[in-house]
């Protein structure tokens, strides 16, 4: 992988929810064109890690680099580095209720696609408007051009005839395919999938996995948090096993699934395989 362009890198990423430390210093790097499956038990921090990569969660400490540019750098010793200005800010400004959304973060997010467990399609917009919304508003692409592009993408995932429907009329699998296409319309450099099939009825899992597989094989850099071990083995170039807030073990699918080195990995795999 060393010759490839680096897309994302994290250094010593820490994240806590209240007193519970969910990420305990994650170092990682992801390269152009590779498909990485992130596995691990529920509550182990794998989704949180993924959500930190586009700053939907704000880590307390650590560094994130997107295509070599720092997206976030936070020092661990908060208390001592707090300036008077910052203290005034906390006195007068309430805590941000949504994740940080500064210009630099926004620009990066436009190039980092994300697909959620619960689809999060926009129910008040038609299928095609779901897709064209952000390209038109944020990238100033002419509406007609954005729609043409959207139609091509819908065609690719077999949803073209639904383009004027509203999401309430779509099945779960169709909603998730729409969510994938919506992210792709921004022409991202990397796609993050956060348990994309966990909320689906079993008969709809395949149609979504098929789309993700095609995407991964077409050369899109893909990070996928998943419980679908079979799929991870088939598609991934690399597997990260996250447990207790750390990357516990990583390697090729064969290394992780056939010859896991660590006891915890073995325990986890014996439960899910």
């Amino acid at each position: 992988m060393n010759g490839k362009r680096e897309i994302l890198r994290t250094k010593a990423l820490h994240k806590s929810f209240g007193k519970e430390e969910v990420l305990k210093g994650i170092d990682s790097a992801f390269f152009e064109g590779e498909t990485v499956a992130i596995i691990g038990a529920s509550g182990g921090g794998k989704s949180t890690f993924l959500r930190c990569l586009n700053l939907l969660e704000t880590p307390e400490a650590g560094e994130i680099y997107f295509e070599g540019e720092p997206l976030m750098c936070a020092k661990a010793d908060k208390a001592s580095s707090r300036s008077a200005k910052e203290m005034l800010r906390t006195l007068f400004l309430a805590r941000e209720t949504t994740a940080k959304n500064t210009g630099a973060v926004r620009t990066a997010r436009q190039r980092i696609g994300m697909v959620f467990q619960h689809f999060n399609v926009f129910p008040h917009l038609s299928v095609i408007d779901n897709i064209t919304l952000s390209p038109v508003l944020e990238k100033n692409i002419p509406k007609a051009e954005a729609e043409k592009k959207a139609e091509e993408l819908l065609e690719r995932v077999g949803l073209l005839e639904k383009k004027n429907e509203y999401p309430t009329r779509l099945s779960g699998g169709q909603k998730q395919r729409l969510a994938i296409v919506r992210a792709l319309a921004m022409e991202p450099d990397v796609m993050l999938f956060d348990e994309p099939t966990s909320a689906l009825d079993p008969e709809m899992v395949k149609e979504v996995l098929d789309v993700i597989r095609d995407l991964a094989r077409s050369g899109m850099t893909t990070l996928i948090v998943t419980h679908e071990i079979g799929f991870a083995r088939e598609v991934a170039d690399r597997v990260l096993f996250i447990a207790d807030g750390l990357i516990y073990e990583e390697g090729t699918p064969e290394e992780i699934f056939d010859r896991p080195q660590k006891e915890k990995t073995r325990q986890f795999l014996s439960k899910v395989l």
Binding site: R95, F122, E138, Y166
Partner: protein, 223 residues
Amino acid sequence: MLEDIGKLWARYGPLYMEGLWGTLWMSLLTVLVATVIGTAVALIRNARFRPTRFLMKCYIEVVRGTPILLQLYFFWLFLPKIMPFEVSDTVSIVTALIFNSGAYVAEVVRAGIQAVDHGQTEAGLSLGLGRWHLFSRIIYPQALKNILPALGNEFIMMIKETSLASVFFVSELTTSYKTVQSVTFKSIPSLTIAGVIYFAMTFLLTRLLGILERRMKSNERKA
């Protein structure tokens, strides 16, 4: 009794109608202006600047923590004193009603915004939407669907609460009853007429809102 009601209605019908008109325009004006104020208050409460958030919170707590009749008295006494021009009782009372309703609408708007699934915000952010686009295109349109039915209810509430204006003899339906009662001394028949009109109004409006709400929901499905 029925005969009395018939006679009263024949004689004083126009007076009741005048009262009904007063009730309707006061409630409607109150809710319309309160919607503007309530929305602004809700937005300020959701903004990050703490001092203004706190002020808005105080306003809402004061309105919710004191009787509406007391608020009417307060404005009725106070407004003419501080205003450089003549303030009629009607203006004082409507101002007080707006002051009251604005706080309730603010809570309705805030709840409507908060009821929008947080996943919608995350999806918007992940697509790189700026703050303004996120709210104007994703959050507020969906919040509106939660807010509109509640605003209809606020209107119905106001139709009933304007009856308190009769304490100050501002022209509205309950004042009409008081007038008719004091002229004819037929308390129960004259009160019954007012009651029937109130009920007919709120009943019709409730049905109407129900239809609108259902249509709004089915629009989302079809459209």
